[in-house]
Each structure stands twice: as C-alpha cells, then as structure tokens.
C-alpha cells in the first residue's frame, strides 16, 4: 500500500505557482480547505487560477486579498450574511488586479 498521508506543509508544496486549482466549499456542499489555502498564501504561491464550484467564498476571497491569485472562474464570491460579496474579490476586480471569469 502506498502511504499517502503527509503533512499539510508537504501537501501544499505539491501546488505550483500559476496552477489552476479547483476548491471544495460553497455550492458543492463540502467544507472549504481553508488550512491548505492559508498554507499556500504563507508559502508565497503566486498567479493561482482558482475555480469555484459553483460559487466561492472566503476560500477565494482570502488568497485574492493576499495577492496570490491571477484569475477566478466562478459565478460569485459570496459571504452571506457577513458581506454581500467577498470584499477582497470586489476590490481586486474593480482595480483590475485579477481576471474574473463568469461561469454562471
């Protein structure tokens, strides 16, 4: 049997700058992988291309706010009831700092 158990640090190191990453969370019904996302930001990953299924939440808003994201493909970045839209997502979009691809 191959042992696939590793540390959060080693798992996060499997992600490279510029990777397209699809995230659990939001409409998929599952929890967001926030610990892994924080690790990617901590380690300075850049240019990530995120895909939200179908929408995204803090799972996208946090790495966008950290400048780790080049683009996001999603229908929305919702943070109800705390904010109508992810504040970092909205600000970075309006400033043209990320490319937003609508997949509604």
């Amino acid at each position: 049997m191959k042992d696939k158990l590793t540390t959060l640090e080693a798992a996060a190191a499997m992600v490279r700058d510029g990777d397209q990453i699809i995230l659990s969370g939001d409409s998929g019904g599952s929890p967001s992988p926030m610990a892994a996302i924080r690790r990617l930001v901590h380690d300075g990953r850049k240019g990530l291309r995120l895909v939200g299924v179908v929408g995204a939440t803090v799972n996208a808003d946090l790495p966008i706010g950290a400048g780790a994201v080049a683009s996001i493909d999603t229908c929305s970045v919702g943070m109800s009831p705390f904010a109508r839209t992810g504040p970092n997502f909205a600000r970075h979009c309006e400033a043209g700092r990320i490319k937003a691809l609508d997949n509604t």
Binding site: M1, K2, D3, K4, L5, T6, T7, L8, E9, A10, A11, A12, M14, V15, R16, D19, Q20, I21, I22, L23, S24, G25, G28, G29, S30, P31, S32, P33, M34, A35, A36, I37, R38, R39, V41, H42, V51, V53, T57, V58, N59, D61, G65, A66, M79, F82, A83, G86, P87, N88, R91, L101, D102
Partner: protein, 180 residues
C-alpha cells in the same frame, strides 16, 4: 469523463464567447444549420478539498454529501485535508461521500481545517471571526494586518487552531477524539 468539450444549450447570442477563449460557437454536426456553443472541458492542475476522515492509503470520507468526486476525477493532482486520520475507510463505513484512494494523491491532517467557515454537522461558521474578516477585507492595509495575524506570523496549523479557533470548540473536539 475524458470529454474534450461539452455542448451548452442557451449560450448562443451571448457576449460571453467574445470574453472567453474557452467558449466557442460551432455548427451542430447533426444539423449544420444550427449553431451550438461548446466549452472546453475543465482539467484543473489541482483539486484542493477538505473532508472528515482519511486513512493512510488515501481513502476519504468527506463527511457530508458533495460533488467533490467529480472535482477529483477532473483534476491532475488531488490533495485532501481532513479533520481526522483513522485506520481504515471504505464505502460502507463512510458517513458522507466516499472518495476512493485511486483518486487521491495526498492526504494531510488539519483539524478545524475549514475554519473560519463551517464543517456541516461538526462546527458552525465562526461568526465573530468572519465579522472581523469582512471589516479587515475592505482595504489593503487592514487586510495586511489580518493576514499577518492569521497566516504570515503563524508557523503551522496547530498554532492557528490554538490562536484562532474558539477554545470551547477545541475542548469539544478533544472530548470527541477521546470517545467522550
């Protein structure tokens, strides 16, 4: 599914294909006079998922009912963090969606790994934390403070849990782990 592209009903006439290079309008092969929009299949480099339990072989019990098997099947590398590592997981004992080890490249332990968001049936949204998050996320300088506190100045996930997950949740977690 291995499909190179997928036809989508209803997009023809939309401006979307002028904005995206992964959506095109092509003649329907069966009715060439009809135009059909097609989108390129998604083939992500990485699926990053959080589930309930995993074993060392990489079998995962997502702990809730999710579409995440599709995300794993589509992706080149699949990384799953979990609340608990256990001896053995199979389809019969899984409490939620079962992700077989053949789809999984790596599993890592991250209790409270969805915080400040919720884990269905296990812990709720951390409302106080999320309220603070949105207040900080409104401008770059304030968000830099949030990131320093929760990401950059935090050496590892255990330290994050100690500092940022409500103490009462952690104590409940310990009781549950001890079978209490």
């Amino acid at each position: 599914m291995g499909l190179p592209y997928v036809p989508i009903v209803g997009l023809v006439g939309s401006d979307l294909m002028h904005k995206r290079d992964d959506v095109k309008v092509v003649p329907d092969p069966f009715h060439p006079e009809v135009k059909t929009a097609v989108v390129r299949s998604l083939r992500p480099d990485v699926a990053l998922l959080h589930g309930l339990r995993a074993d060392r072989a990489g079998n995962v019990d997502m702990g809730c009912w999710t579409d995440d098997v599709l995300l794993a099947e589509a992706s080149r590398r699949v990384i799953v963090t979990v609340e608990e590592v256990v001896d053995h997981i199979d389809e019969d004992t899984a409490q939620g969606t079962f992700l077989p080890s053949i789809l999984v490249n790596a599993v890592a332990l991250a209790p409270f790994g969805a915080h400040p968001e919720h884990f269905p049936g296990r812990y709720p949204d951390d409302e106080a934390h999320l309220q603070r998050y949105v207040e900080h996320a409104r401008d770059d300088a304030a968000f830099a403070v949030y990131l320093r506190e929760t990401v950059y100045d935090v050496p590892d996930h255990d330290t994050y849990v100690q500092r940022h997950v409500p103490r009462s949740w952690q104590e409940e977690g310990y009781r549950r782990a001890a079978g209490g």
